[in-house]
């Protein structure tokens, strides 16, 4: 099968709604989580449990920013988490949700 390239998505925008890509599985681990994309066969390591909580809450929150807040990300760390979500968008692990 042809491994799909990550879709050339628009860069992450914290004000927009996101969700885990339907072909991605998350496996919690003590350090955070592993994320595996069955379409691209790429693996990502989420290096904190908080980031896992953010990713898991994306689908239920109106925006990426709200997902960070609901997972308890402190205000001074929001920039770091937005960059992390940006990487996950670039690798196709999460994608914008049609609201």
């Amino acid at each position: 099968m042809p491994p799909l390239s990550p879709p050339s998505a628009a860069p992450f925008d914290p004000s927009r709604p996101y969700a885990l890509h339907p072909q991605v599985a998350l496996r919690p681990e003590s350090f955070g989580a592993l994320a595996y994309h069955f379409g691209t066969r790429r693996l990502s390591f989420l290096k904190s449990r908080t980031l896992l909580a953010v990713v898991e809450s994306l689908a239920d929150q109106p925006s990426g920013l709200e997902a960070c807040r609901s997972a308890g990300v402190p205000a001074e760390e929001l920039g770091d988490y937005e960059r992390a979500l940006g990487l996950l968008v670039d690798s196709g692990m999460i994608c914008e949700r049609v609201a």
Binding site: M1, P2, P3, Q23, A25, R27, P28, E29, S30, F31, G32, L34, Y36, F38, G39, T40, R41, R42, L43, S44, F45, L46, K47, S48, T50, L51, E77, D80, Y81, A84, L87, L88, S91
Partner: protein, 421 residues
């Protein structure tokens, strides 16, 4: 592979050395039966083992993989497609969200199979080839095996399957052909995968004559630095890290930590290169199944403890190579807490010389269908000249071997590691 921070300051490698709840990379040898008899087969394959897991047992194991969220398994053998339930098991796995990558010599990749594979999103294929021409390849893999593999690649390409893997074990005789392998992979729309020759299985018999010379190790390292981003290596060459910059990948021995092997009879070993009682953690047929072996076996718990650097402790490169490959040391009779036999500083060669002619551990069990073959190199091979004219001499009957090989993160496209610490 991408590391996504923010997170704690702990390096991911250190996390991995302490083990995970489930393996990242699991190799599953479905059968010891094989229609080839490659001289370096890691699992000494040939004859089917009558105790092989049944179809029902295989499905139960896949159920367990699904519960543990093992994202995909690397299926090998033997030649896995020989099992009459092979496709049934592949379908069962992918229906249960366990992706499959299987290794094959290509002999059963018909046009119909190629079309079927091209249509599947969850199955990947790896064609084994150990020479860029028939002369070099067939000396190791057997008469006609080059043509078989090429035909399989032609069929996959014609069916529109892009990105399958062309998998090469780097030897003294093909190390000069790396550019040709890359051209070949490009030609078929495949991706090249290079792995290290291990002295495991029947490989123990031919390692002395087939493993790259010291000068070739350097040549290989330089090539990987130059072209490494274009190829997969399954983290195979971390023992070369002492030459300088680390190669792409985690540079970690994942045995029992993030990697393991399940053999055709359900035995669980620390890694695909370590089929020996010394590295046997348990059997999936025991109560508690695979999960319990992975999480609770004495062997795996011990491997997840900090390991002694031993004789390598005073070496400035230990952080880079971490003493190299456990299986390579074990099967060449070297202590596990010392240098790799292919240590780039030459400590391994000295250790091999000091070792003398001891009886090295024989990988258990042997499923070779014929008396073991040994490639005996002719004069020039010591100096790295290709020597496909190596003659083969039968040796006493011994253990089994395998045709596929895997390592920690094999199959994962190396990705940016923007915030790895």
């Amino acid at each position: 592979m991408t590391v996504v921070a923010p997170g704690t300051g702990t390096r991911l490698v250190d996390r991995f050395e302490r083990g995970l709840d489930a393996p990242i990379c699991l190799t599953w040898e479905l059968t010891y039966a094989c229609n080839l008899a490659c001289v370096h087969c890691l699992s000494s394959s040939g004859r089917r083992d009558p105790r092989e897991l049944s179809t029902a047992e295989c499905k139960a194991l896949i159920d367990e993989f699904e519960r543990m969220q093992i994202f995909y398994v690397n299926i090998g053998g033997g030649e896995p497609t020989i099992r009459s339930d092979f496709w049934e098991l592949v379908d069962y796995a992918t229906d249960h969200r366990v992706g499959v990558k299987f290794s094959t010599n290509g002999s059963r990749i018909t046009e119909a199979v190629a079309a079927r594979l091209a249509a599947s999103d969850y199955v990947d294929v790896q064609i084994s080839l150990d020479g860029a021409d028939a002369e070099v390849n067939d000396a190791v893999r057997g008469e006609g095996s080059f043509a078989t593999a090429v035909t399989a690649m032609e069929r996959l390409a014609a069916a529109g399957f892009t990105g399958f893997k062309l998998s090469v074990v780097v030897t003294r005789h093909n190390v000069g052909q790396l550019d040709r392998f890359l051209e070949m992979a490009d030609h078929y729309g495949a991706q090249l995968r290079l792995t290290r020759l291990r002295p495991s299985g029947r490989g123990a018999d031919v390692w002395d004559e087939l493993h790259p010379t010291a000068a070739q190790q350097r040549q290989l390292y330089d090539w990987l630095v130059r072209r490494g981003e274009e190829v997969l290596t399954g983290d195979s060459f971390f023992h070369l890290a002492g030459f300088g910059d680390a190669l792409p990948g985690l540079n970690l021995c994942g045995a029992g930590r993030v990697v393991c092997l399940v053999d055709p009879v359900g035995d669980v070993y620390a890694c695909p290169f370590a089929i020996h009682d010394e590295f046997l953690a348990g059997n999936v047929r025991a109560s508690g199944g695979f999960t319990s072996v992975w999480r609770q076996s004495d062997l795996f718990l011990e491997l997840r403890q900090p390991q002694s650097a031993g004789a390598c402790g005073s070496c400035g490169h230990y952080d880079a190579c971490r003493g190299g490959c456990m299986a390579a040391k074990f099967f060449t009779g070297l202590p596990l807490d010392g240098p790799d036999p292919e240590c780039v500083l030459g400590h391994g060669e000295h250790a091999l010389d000091a070792r003398g002619d001891i009886e090295t551990p024989r990988p258990a069990p042997d499923h070779s269908s014929r008396p073991r073959q040994v490639a005996v190199a002719l004069t020039s091979s010591r100096h790295g000249a290709p020597d496909p004219a190596a003659i083969r001499m039968p040796t006493a009957d011994r253990r089994p071997d395998r045709s596929c090989d895997e390592h920690p993160l094999s199959g994962y496209a190396p990705g940016p590691v923007p915030t790895a610490t």
